[in-house]
């Protein structure tokens, strides 16, 4: 018994040791270490995903590389080393918060709640929750999911949105948690779950990349409004200002449109499919008036 008490005491001492530190200064850290660490996803198509050579690519990755280029110039670090760190929906926020990654380039919704822990650059994409189902399931709306198995990716805003709806409307859905979007998609594909609520653009990407794209469809009204942004650590005004400056520059020069059409309106790796997803009015508005409003 005594040894466990001493263990608890030791743990507490350890915890007390880790007390709040001063505000972050990511730019200084990057300058001093000559390295920047970028968090990326495995299967957030076409934002941040792995190509056949298992290299992370995508819309968000391109935007982040623009940031890196600007940083090289700003910090006078032509040999700035980029370290790529894979993250999941569950690990991304703790990893930003504990400084393991300097910025996350994936498909992260800027939500007011998350702003308590992390900070976001200006919005670079706008989407919302819809349902991915098999055509053969005949599910057309959320009401059809009463009592059915629904797969959710752990730690996403979509998970929250559907659970809130389920509690409010008393639908009695049965949730299957999953680690990443690819796994969630496979749950629907293999018949474990009837539906997968997720940002519609990611669903389009997953369907596009699947073996039989014709079997699936995206249904339902938008259940949530999800503005995507690059995630950085909280209370770092210098980095936020620098990042927003670069993003706003891309928007003003129209360069972002080129990057957009490269990933959403042209064939993309690994299979060379075209998502054919023209820019929404919401995103056009966000590009005309850059902002970092959370949902």
């Amino acid at each position: 018994m005594k040894r466990f008490v001493s263990l608890i005491v030791a743990l507490t001492a350890c915890a007390a040791f880790i007390s709040p530190a001063s505000a972050a200064d990511t730019l200084k850290k990057i300058k001093d270490s000559g390295t920047i660490t970028i968090g990326h996803r495995d299967a957030s198509i076409p934002f941040s995903y792995l190509d056949d050579k298992q290299k992370p690519i995508g819309y968000s990755m391109d935007l982040c590389m623009k940031l890196v280029d600007a940083m090289k110039a700003e910090l006078k670090l032509p040999n700035l080393k980029v370290v790529l760190n894979p993250v999941t929906s569950q690990t991304r926020i703790p990893l930003i918060a504990n400084g393991s990654i300097d910025m996350e380039c994936g498909s992260t919704t800027n939500s007011v709640e998350r702003q308590k822990q992390v900070s976001f650059l200006n919005t670079t994409f706008i989407t919302g929750t819809k349902l991915l189902v098999k055509k053969s399931s005949h599910v057309k709306s959320y009401k059809d999911l009463k009592g059915k198995a629904v797969v959710v990716t752990n730690g996403t805003t979509n998970e929250r949105a559907i659970k809130e709806l389920d509690a409010k409307e008393n639908l009695g859905m049965k949730f299957i948690p999953s680690k990443d979007h690819a796994e969630s998609f496979l749950s629907v594909d293999s018949g474990r779950a009837v539906a997968f609520p997720m940002d519609d653009i990611l669903l389009a990407g997953l369907i596009n990349n699947s073996k039989n794209p014709g079997e699936f469809e995206i249904v339902g009204a938008f259940l949530s409004h999800d503005p995507y942004a690059i995630m950085i650590s909280k209370d770092d005004p210098a980095f936020k200002k620098f990042g927003d400056g670069v993003i706003n520059g891309l928007m003003k020069s129209g360069e972002i449109n080129k990057i957009y059409s490269k990933w959403f309106e042209s064939p993309i790796p690994p299979k060379g499919n075209n998502l054919k997803f023209p820019m929404s009015d919401g995103l056009k508005e966000a590009i005309a008036h850059p902002n970092d409003k959370g949902a």
Binding site: M1, A15, P94, A97, Q117, D166, P177
Partner: protein, 251 residues
């Protein structure tokens, strides 16, 4: 990093859905324990049989037992989990596989998790049983035969009762392993304690509080099991015989 400690978080209502966070931890613990206990029953049943047949003079039975142990011992638990959950339903004849997949959550993860853990641990139990039986003096078996007992009778009345007492300490640690290993089932979507802690951390961003709670609960379970098994050991010990009167004497 600005970390705001907030231990009151456990009494706050869950962001989406019903209840408060400490209820998540308790339900996680309940799943951990029920997975562990049920898997333990399977592991004991299969493990004892396999362990015993490996000590018999029947060559085919020994080979079968050996193959069983090697198969389940040499593949990582996580990979076995995936085989039960992702692969088995696909290779089963059509109806069965679909049935497995369409069980209502959480049973669709619970059933493969229990089976996987049970089979995995059965190999380890079999090893302990075999070692326990083989550690008995050969004279005991011979005495049984001399008394005119059949092989089955010798096992039933002579070897197994003694071996059972010898294996209590290793069984304690195997049982603890099964409780700890049940956390691997989070990869196939079982909402057990570790997953709940990780969910809570994602919902509330209070990572340290959530993980501390889970750690404390696991340690408490260990304490209770170790204490319970010590009592059992004392209760069943045969005075003046090997394997009784405390292990090793390290303290």
């Amino acid at each position: 990093m600005n970390y705001n400690w907030n231990w009151k978080i456990f009494w706050e209502p869950v962001a989406a859905g019903n209840g408060v966070y400490w209820e998540w931890m308790v339900s996680g613990l309940a799943w951990t324990l029920s997975t562990g206990l049920l898997a333990w029953v399977i592991a004991l049943l299969i493990g004892v049989v396999i362990g015993v047949i490996r000590t018999t003079p029947l060559i085919w039975a020994v080979r079968l037992g050996n193959a069983w142990v090697e198969l389940f011992r040499n593949i990582p638990l996580l990979v076995q989990m995936f085989l039960w959950y992702f692969v088995l339903p696909e290779v089963l004849p059509f109806g069965l596989g679909t049935m497995m997949k369409q069980m209502d959550p959480p049973w669709a993860s619970f059933a493969p998790a229990v089976l996987c853990l049970g089979f995995y641990t059965s190999a380890r139990v079999a090893e302990q049983v075999k070692a326990g039986i083989q550690s008995l003096p050969r004279g005991q078996t011979l005495a049984g035969t001399a008394l005119g007992l059949t092989m089955v009778q010798t096992y039933r009345y002579v070897t197994l009762p003694m071996a059972f007492r010898i294996v209590i300490p290793p069984f304690t640690s195997e049982f603890m392993n099964i409780i700890k290993n049940s956390s691997v089932a989070l990869t196939i979507g079982l909402l057990e304690l570790t997953q709940r802690a990780s969910d809570m951390s994602e919902y509330t961003f209070q990572t340290f509080e959530a993980f501390t709670a889970a750690t404390t609960l696991y340690i408490m379970v260990t304490l209770i099991v170790v204490y319970g098994m010590r009592q059992l050991e004392k209760k069943v010990q045969v005075p003046g015989f090997i394997g009784t009167g405390g292990q090793g004497g390290g303290r």
